[in-house]
Amino acid sequence: MPQANAKVDKEAAAAPAAPAPIELTINGETFRHTGAPDMPLLWYLRDVLRLTGSKFGCGVGQCGACTVHVGGKAQRSCLVPMSALSGQAVTTIEGLASGDDLHAVQQAWIEEDVPQCGYCQAGQIMAAVDLLKRKAQPSDADIGQLTNLCRCGTYPRIRKAVKRAAQLMADAKAAEAKAADTKAHAHDGKSGEARS
């Protein structure tokens, strides 16, 4: 698990002339990378922080198994060098849920029983979360823009899960709005009555 990083980071390759440390936030915690600046984020996450949810699939940005969010946007972490991440905020699959409360996309993935081998699914989920930020109600064509590879062939269930997640998020939003509405009208009993 992530922790104050000075100790953990010893394992990273130390270049002869120590490069300037790179400070970044990962899942809300601050880390300082003192190893090779060209080390891709994927290997920093996996080998150094032991956050192994982001997977290696190709190393060249083709498969998306390593997808994380940098500054709130989906990125293939195998292509992002640590040197590009100074001051950035990274979210990985491990940081997507709030405590025991799963993100709607994670919840939908479970409800649709998407995973087969499961290896690509962290990347799929991170890509889907990014899509739903941009398109709250994605069409089939929008979902088809997801380019993450799944070798097991779970694509049809991924489609269902993305749609279910969109619904869960819309429902949550509606419930929130309703709660806010009720709270607002609690100050005005009469109008609340009239509405019901």
């Binding site: 081998c117 499961g118 962290a122 799944c150 097991c152 062939g153 269930r157």
Partner: protein, 748 residues
């Protein structure tokens, strides 16, 4: 049945935590009752602990299989939970390690069969794991019988409780200690009748779902050990080539690189018992340092005996080979005579390429060697083979080799081979450190045990009534029978042609022959091995016969299948092939796709069916070709795998098999030039993406009371021919060479 003489007893132990551990293990104990082997199954002579009841009445069930995405970590424990009468919602599943041990009768596996290959997990578990669950339940009921001073027969169980005739319920946890002192029954315990099932047949989501979606599930590549160094290999790109010279000066300058050394490949022509290829190992503190070190290597390779091999040469070799006599696989009647009297003889040739497995998680191995023991952690399909490989290379006795299986990021047959385990051991021996061996995608695509390449020549004789009177299937291919590890006997056409496959036994004259091709490319089983390999040819050709003789392609198949009956089937998945079950999936599939409805909008419908590993499947697709774009509007898969253990799991396998089938048929081929594999990334080995795939696969599972068969492979063989047949219906272009898209593009 030598097993009949074995003595067994069921051990019930109270573990340190106070949990009840129920298993079945062999022993020399004189009091051991004899259990009929034929009822219990071979595995039960050596089963270990499967069931644990915790104090809070949570039941922990051990999953013995290798989870490669086929769902056995869920479905196998379901079999135990059913007979145990556990509440599935309160069951926790734990992956079991490899269970090799030395029993009183010699080496044995305390958990029974643990490998993943040939779609056998469910059929094996159906025999022995249900019994293991039933024995555990019997002990708990007996404990309650003693507690209540009632006959065993008057008690019932439900959802983790024993139920008194008056309705009082005792949780299993409260019976644990007493059950621990009870001798198990001498005879096999009767199993439930299907109408009593509460777990089997009910949809169950994968037990690892939450761990997977939160990134906490551990795959092989996610395993680390203190003190382990990361190793990567630069392998010789030439088949059976070797290292001529290495300049590692720059590599050794890379921060974090600890060592560089040559690893020899197997002697050309020798069996593949160890690693796959020669190369240079770079050992480093972390993956990135190892990769940078590898990039800095300068290696001169010495091409081996296959330096001239290419796909073009192989194609020419195949065409030439078919002029010979070949090896008879099955002959019925007299095909030559049938040709003479036939009204027409139809002929066509089909070509299928080499394929790589391209598991999303590439091969990976974590190994720690000590003077008197070894530990391996990783994703496997064949832990038994891994154990042997480690023993061979270290000289350690197998019971001193601990193997922990993780989830595997796909298998598809790749991990039936343990070359990557051997490679890790070889590197660890030289490095003198625990080794975490990492393969990149190009390593994986260029060094695999590939699905064979082959050319199929099919002929059919047809009489005046358009009856098929004869069928010849000549197959020239690079069979699996090449440098077989451990000298397993395999027939010449292994992995390419099965004697009793459709339409054997359904036509009076049959001539099936195999023509062996020479290639230096290693071969291995690839999901539904010979079935994906030859069903494309056979089921495409049946479609061609229908077109040529102006018959309906479904009716022609039904006519060939004839009345429902069982035919002998000697290959894996037998011993019988039921023509009625294949006809039933085909008929249902035709209905679902609305086969009789003539499309006039540029769309075409194609269908195919196949029998594989005890299961029956049919696929139908509705497609159109717009410009050079193939669009799949509908995909239907109908399957009969006997009784379904986990409906969600079978559906997943059919959806996944169909998508895998489409992805592979459309785009994938491994080719050779100058004795080297030409593909090295998902750019030139383009596994299908979402946009190319149908939005939905309509899966229909035919209800069945038959014994269950495995579902991991039956979902793929009929995909490629159904797709090619649909393309013909839409375009009148007959694709006889896989992959489809390059060929279609050439022909349009």
């Amino acid at each position: 049945m030598s097993g009949l003489t074995r003595r067994q007893f069921i051990s019930v132990m109270l573990s340190a935590s106070g949990a009840l551990v129920v298993g079945v293990r062999s022993a020399l104990a004189a009091i051991a009752p004899q259990v009929p082997m034929d009822l219990l199954g071979e595995a039960l002579t050596s089963l270990g602990a499967f069931v644990r009841v915790e104090r809070n009445n949570r039941i922990v069930i051990g999953a013995r299989g290798c989870e490669i995405g086929q769902g056995v970590i869920t479905s196998l424990p379901m079999l135990i939970a059913e007979e145990l009468d556990a509440d599935w919602n309160r069951v926790r599943v734990e992956q079991l390690p490899y269970g090799y041990e030395i029993g009183p009768d010699g080496p044995t596996n305390r958990y029974g069969p643990q490998g993943a290959g040939g779609s056998t997990s469910i059929t094996d578990g159906w025999k022995d794991l249900r019994q293991a669950g039933a024995v555990a339940r019997w002990l708990l009921v007996e404990a309650a019988a003693q507690h209540w001073q009632l006959p065993h027969e008057r008690l019932d169980t439900e959802a983790g409780h024993v139920v008194h005739p008056d309705g009082t319920r005792l949780p299993y946890a409260e019976l644990v200690e007493r059950a621990a002192g009870i001798l198990p029954p001498a005879e096999p315990v009767p199993l439930k009748k299907p109408e009593q099932f509460r777990v089997i047949g009910k949809p169950a989501r994968t037990v690892d779902a939450r761990a997977i979606v939160t990134g906490r599930a551990t795959f092989g590549i996610d395993s680390y050990l203190g003190g382990a160094l990361v190793a990567v290999m630069k392998r010789c790109p030439h088949l059976d080539g070797s290292v001529e010279s290495v300049d590692d000066a720059e590599t050794r300058q890379v921060a974090g690189v600890r060592d560089v050394f040559v690893i020899d490949g197997p002697v050309p022509g020798s069996s593949f018992d160890t690693n796959l290829a020669a190369g240079v190992a770079v050992v480093a503190d972390n993956t990135w340092a190892a990769l940078k070190g590898r990039n800095a290597l300068k290696v001169n390779w010495k091409p081996g005996p296959w330096a001239e091999e290419s796909s073009a040469r192989l194609e020419a070799q195949a065409a030439e080979a078919l002029k010979g006599d070949g090896v008879v696989v099955r002959v019925d009647g007299d095909m030559a005579a049938a040709r003479k009297t036939a009204k027409r003889t139809l002929e066509a040739r089909y070509q299928v390429p080499f394929l790589a497995h391209a598991t999303m998680e590439p091969p990976h191995a974590l190994i720690k060697l000590e003077p008197d023991r070894a530990l391996f952690i990783g994703a496997l399909q064949n832990p038994d083979g891994a154990s042997r490989v480690i023993a061979d290379l270290t000289g350690l006795p197998r019971e001193k080799i601990e193997i922990r299986m993780t989830r595997a990021g796909g298998g598809f047959g790749r991990r039936l081979e343990n070359d990557f385990v051997a490679e890790a051991v070889m590197i660890a021996k030289k490095a003198g450190k625990p080794i975490k061996l990492f393969w990149t995608r190009d390593d994986d695509l260029t060094h695999d045990f590939y699905r064979p390449y082959g050319l199929h020549q099919l002929s059919a004789t047809v009489d005046r009534k358009n009856q098929v009177t004869g069928f010849a299937h000549l197959c020239a291919a690079t069979s699996l029978n090449y440098r077989i590890a451990r000298k397993k006997e395999r027939p010449p056409g292994a992995g390419c042609l099965e004697a009793d496959d459709f339409p054997a036994g359904l036509v009076p004259n049959l001539d099936k022959r195999f023509f062996s091709l020479e290639s230096g490319l290693p071969r291995g089983p690839w999901r539904a091995p010979l079935h994906t390999f030859h069903a494309f040819a056979v089921q495409s050709f049946i479609d061609e016969i229908a077109v040529e003789t102006k018959q309906d392609a479904v009716e022609l198949r039904l006519k060939l299948l004839g009345e429902a009956r069982e035919l002998d089937y000697a290959g894996h998945g037998g011993p019988k092939f039921d023509t009625g079950r294949l006809a039933a999936v085909l008929t249902r599939c035709a209905e679902a796709i609305d086969w009789k409805h003539r499309r006039t909008d540029g769309r075409g419908v194609g269908i195919a069916c196949h029998f594989t590993f005890g299961g029956y499947a049919a696929h139908a697709f509705e497609v159109s070709v717009e410009g050079r774009d193939l669009r799949i509007h509908r995909a239907v898969c109908v399957v009969d795998v006997g009784r379904v253990v986990n409906p969600l799991g079978v559906d997943a396998m059919m959806v996944g098999g169909t998508i895998d089938g489409i992805s592979t048929a459309l785009n994938l081929a491994i080719t050779l030039k100058d004795g080297q594999v030409q593909q090295s990334s998902f750019g030139d080995y383009p596994v299908g993406r979402m946009a190319q795939m149908p939005n939905e696969v309509e899966v229909i599972v035919l209800p069945s009371e038959r014994e269950p068969s495995g579902a991991g492979e039956i979902g793929i063989p009929s995909v490629a021919p159904a797709l090619a047949n649909a393309i013909y219906a839409a375009t009148t272009v007959r694709v006889r060479k896989l992959p489809i898209l390059p060929e279609l593009s050439r022909r349009l």
